[in-house]
């Protein structure tokens, strides 16, 4: 079966992508396949989703910029909590990830 996503399954130096436990996450309600240990943004990019949020003032769309948790360009609303750095946050089973408008809204009380 030909894999359609953008994961690099075979690599000349790093070898085959190791088998990992398959889990499901939701992006704007759409079910996506992910693997345990993957970062949220990596799963989205693997599925061709690069538009992660829109800025508050200028309404510009943003995606991954630094990929190591410094620039905060990739923040999204995850399980009701806004401004989560998705490039360094691993996926969890049934996680709900949403495109974030502006500064986002708290949908869940954590305190």
């Amino acid at each position: 079966m030909k894999k359609k996503d953008l994961r690099i399954y075979k690599h000349p130096i790093l070898g085959d992508l190791p088998e990992r436990k398959k889990i499901y996450i939701y992006f704007n309600g759409k079910k996506l396949t992910a693997y345990e240990g993957e970062m949220i943004a990596a799963v989205l990019y693997a599925n061709g989703i690069r538009r992660l949020r829109r800025t508050e003032r200028f309404k510009e769309v943003r995606g991954i910029f630094c990929a190591i948790g410094r620039c905060t360009d990739c923040v999204m609303t995850v399980d009701g909590i806004p401004n989560i750095r998705t490039c360094i946050t691993p996926v969890k089973e049934k996680m709900k990830i949403e495109f974030q408008e502006g500064l986002g809204k708290w949908k869940k009380k954590i305190w």
Partner: protein, 364 residues
């Protein structure tokens, strides 16, 4: 409050080597790292390193990373992951957010090895998804194993730009070109040759005018420049790409050093403002040391040696012993690496740092 002999902030090549050296000398070491795995940027370096046998030349970066992690584990170094050191306060108290909780740690000595951050480059639409740092792209393809784009334009022909272009080819992407605003490439010709012979063009005296796309990158406009770096607009050209990578240098990550009150100097060849330090890597604040890219942008190989030097120096202070021979060997290995067209300027800058350290400490 927890108390430690040595706290190392940043578990990359410099921090890990510092931890190993200090632990071997009987020091109680804690590494604090904000990532979920230590190793810093070593694990995305899948190419073989330059150097000599002592520098582990010819070995791939991630293999060196695995070796260091194994050693750290065997020596029983304590490592806090997912922990952000947000501040250094009076009497070397460090504020840490560990797994979301605030903890204060008091240290006898601190080694700051926080690394560097990529420089951005602004052009119209540079904030669109599909523009990212070259190092970010390297993280995506070699760590996360996801292609962030299929047709790539690389901005900048330093070693990072050239190496990441090669690694993009290895990951199965097409690199449509590397653009360099200077009339010659910034990195080594051997790295350029690796991509040239597989058909990647390297455009000299050329810059990017803008990224094209509404909500995502769909193309780029590149344009030759004259000798004053002014774009020759009538020669501009549109190319179809879905990813633009920016490789225009790195800047030391030195916020904690500022906060701790260290004195700084500007060194262009080392990437910007760097903390003054002496030949033992100690800053102008006693018992705060520095190592690796945050003390000046170099290479992983030099970061590891600086880390060892800092680690041993801390051990000397705490244990009241001397290991001058060992330190001299490390300094020699550093000198061996800081030669040649690229290394010479860094060596001079590093020597100036030490000189300025003594001048400023005297007058301070």
């Amino acid at each position: 409050m927890e108390e430690k002999d040595l706290v190392i902030i940043g578990g990359g090549p410099a921090g890990l080597c510092a931890a190993i050296s200090a632990r071997k000398k009987g020091i109680d070491v804690l590494i604090i790292d904000e990532n979920l795995r230590p190793g810093g940027q070593l694990f995305k370096q899948i190419h073989r390193f330059f150097g000599s046998k002592e520098h582990m030349a010819g070995v791939r970066g991630f293999v060196i990373g695995e070796k260091l992690l194994k050693e750290v584990k065997e020596l029983g170094v304590e490592v806090w992951l997912n922990s952000i050191a947000y501040g250094i306060f009076k009497d070397k108290v460090i504020g840490v957010i560990k797994d979301g909780k605030n903890i204060l740690v008091k240290a006898k000595s601190i080694i700051i090895s926080t690394g560097a951050t990529e420089n951005p480059l602004s052009f119209p639409n540079w904030t669109l998804p599909g523009v990212m740092g070259a190092g970010a792209c390297q993280t995506m393809i070699n760590i996360h194993r996801v292609l962030p784009g299929k047709k790539v334009l690389m901005i900048g022909s330093g070693n990072v730009g050239l190496i990441v272009s090669y690694q993009l080819l290895q990951a199965g992407a097409e690199v449509v070109g590397v653009v360099e605003i200077m009339p010659k490439i910034g990195g080594y010709l051997v790295h350029a040759a690796k991509i040239k012979r597989f058909g990647v063009p390297i455009y000299l005296s050329t810059t990017i005018l803008e990224g094209v796309g509404k909500e995502e990158i769909e193309g780029a406009i590149i344009c030759p420049v004259d000798e004053n770096f002014k774009p020759i607009i009538k020669k501009k050209k549109y190319i179809e790409v879905d990813l633009i990578c920016i490789a225009v240098g790195l800047t030391p990550l030195n916020e904690l050093l500022y906060q701790a009150g260290c004195l700084f100097t500007y060194k262009g060849y080392l990437g910007g403002m760097v903390a003054l330090h002496n030949e033992n890597m100690e800053t102008t604040v006693e018992n705060i040391f520095v190592a690796g890219d945050c003390s000046g942008i170099e290479e992983a190989s030099t970061a590891m040696e600086e880390g060892k030097l800092a680690g041993i120096s801390v051990a000397e202070k705490i244990r009241g012993k001397k290991w001058e021979d060992e330190k001299d060997q490390i300094r020699k290995r550093l000198d061996d690496f800081r030669i040649g067209t690229f290394g010479e300027k860094r060596k001079l800058s590093k020597e100036e740092i030490v000189r300025e350290y003594y001048e400023r400490v005297k007058t301070w």
